[in-house]
Symmetry: C2
Subunit: 319 residues, 2 copies
């Protein structure tokens, strides 16, 4: 086995950090290490946390981390910074609150920025969870603001998905309408000390009953006040219930298998894109086509189709 993989499996945090960086850069060493450690993964439990800005996600992550540490469990935290140029940096600011955990060797914190790598984000997060998993972390918390499809895609890495909302947020209803319902396993109405929390919980419950019921697990709606720690024990208990449910029904293996397949397909697509782009300056045919497209001798959309049909990737392409 590669030396780096061995050190990672021994829990060496510097190797862990370096491998995540390799993964970000697309360094081929990352592929080697991911392959070597793969049989040793699957022990960490992955919890995804999303919700609108201001719902208190970072405080929730903070409190959950405290709870897990008090139970002697090690924690990996992956913060996905939003792509939005208009909200960029907000998460990073919140991260400052996590400072106390930086000194705790039982907590590993990593921010994954989305700028400039929209496509690669879900794959990056998946690879990072496997590296954390191999290094012996017990629970991985993936926090994302869920700005777009890409960020929602990130949550497809998680075994259990928490959606945090807050009272009096009209956004919540939008969120429920816009596809969050399909991925949530547990709803939290955070900042439950504020007016309207019960009302909010009732509304969500009512909306959930209106939607098509998932067979099996009915996502509960829980009240929390992360600021004071109120309800955090119960959330962790509910996460464990969900884990038990997934294990009993064999859903966990199925879910994880489907996540792995998604990662494979996404990696293929990204890598094809990368290989096409790397030809732009080398392949004389492609250079000529690009010239024609720029000069209006060729129309971009139809030229792209013709380019593919004349390449190895025509409609009859098989592997």
């Amino acid at each position: 086995m590669e030396d780096a993989a061995r050190r990672l499996l021994e829990g060496d945090q510097r190797t862990l950090s370096r491998m995540i960086t390799y993964l970000e850069r697309g360094d081929p060493q990352a592929a080697g290490v991911l392959k070597a450690i793969d049989p040793h993964t699957g022990n960490a439990y992955i919890v995804g946390i999303t919700g609108p800005p201001g719902a208190g996600k970072s405080t929730l992550v903070d409190r959950l981390t405290e709870l897990l540490r008090s139970k002697e469990m090690s924690v990996g935290i992956i913060g996905v910074d939003p792509t939005s140029p208009f909200t960029g940096g907000a998460l990073l600011g919140d991260r400052v609150r996590m400072q106390k955990h930086y000194l705790d060797s039982g907590v590993f914190i990593r921010s994954v920025a989305t700028r400039g790598q929209t496509g690669g984000l879900p794959r990056m997060v998946r690879g990072t969870t496997r590296l954390l998993d191999a290094s012996g972390v017990d629970v991985i918390l993936v926090e994302t603001v869920g700005v777009g499809q890409t960020e929602l895609g990130v949550l497809e890495v998680a075994d259990t998905v928490l959606v945090a909302l807050m009272p009096e947020s009209g956004d919540a209803i939008q969120a429920l309408k816009a596809g969050i319902m399909e991925i949530a396993d547990i709803y939290l109405v955070n900042k439950a000390d504020r007016e309207g929390a019960n009302q909010m919980a009732t509304t969500i419950t009512a909306m959930l009953q209106l939607g098509e019921a998932k067979p099996g697990w009915s996502p509960p709606v829980m009240l929390t006040t992360a600021q004071t720690g109120q309800g955090i024990d119960e959330v962790w208990q509910k996460i464990q219930e969900h884990r038990q449910y997934l294990t009993d029904t064999l859903e966990l293996a199925k879910r994880r298998g489907s996540h792995r397949q998604k990662e494979f397909l996404e990696t293929v697509q990204e890598e094809v894109a990368r290989r096409v782009n790397s030809r732009v300056e080398q392949d004389p045919n492609l250079i000529a086509t690009l010239e024609q497209v720029a000069n209006k001798e060729s129309e971009p959309y139809s030229a792209a189709m013709e380019f593919l049909d004349s390449s190895g990737l025509d409609a009859d392409w098989t592997v």
Copy 2:
């Protein structure tokens, strides 16, 4: 020439609507029509408008449309609905304000939703502008909330990019830091009747001077109050100045050529992704690999690389 292309060039709005729908669906008819109309495009001027939620983008679009209509120019409006499940629908709500223009045959309005087609969005918008262009529209306004990289990519369709901000918005500084500066041609401090507007304009100007100066065009910072129409004439005048500048320096053709090349490359990438996905249920090798990936017999990342190397798309792949 195809019948649909001919009708489009005659300005038939029903054909226009249908072709945009074909484009959304990936219907091959769209490619044929885009190819046929391509030599007849390039007359429309494309203005992109972005900014954080609440900056008054829709009102700006509304006012600009009024102004252009009063000058007997026809207008195409493309509204890009944000991907965010937490802000989804906001733009659509704003669109209601545009209702008066729906009755005006000189205004064509189309919303492009981002949900479920993150990848295809910039290409969709580019294709739509060419269809609008061919149908004889004079000015195309592309409005996007710019939530993520994808939405920023949409603006690469535009000849002139307006960035709308508002006073007392801390977000603005984030926006400037996070890459908006690279794409803005004109800054608007909208809602300029509010306190802090001048301060905001001064801050932006100062930040622009700190950044690396683009040679040639220095993006101006303008004060507007779209609600009352204050400053809109001046904005249109500045857009025309920018157009003149781009034309005089031959930048316009260069910018448009580079946009076309981007569209070609993106289309290639998306289409490869589509073709890979379409093989998932047919290609026995791919089916076997996916099975192994799910069962942990293969690791997703390295399996993806091996899959590509064994396909026609290895590192030596040429067209």
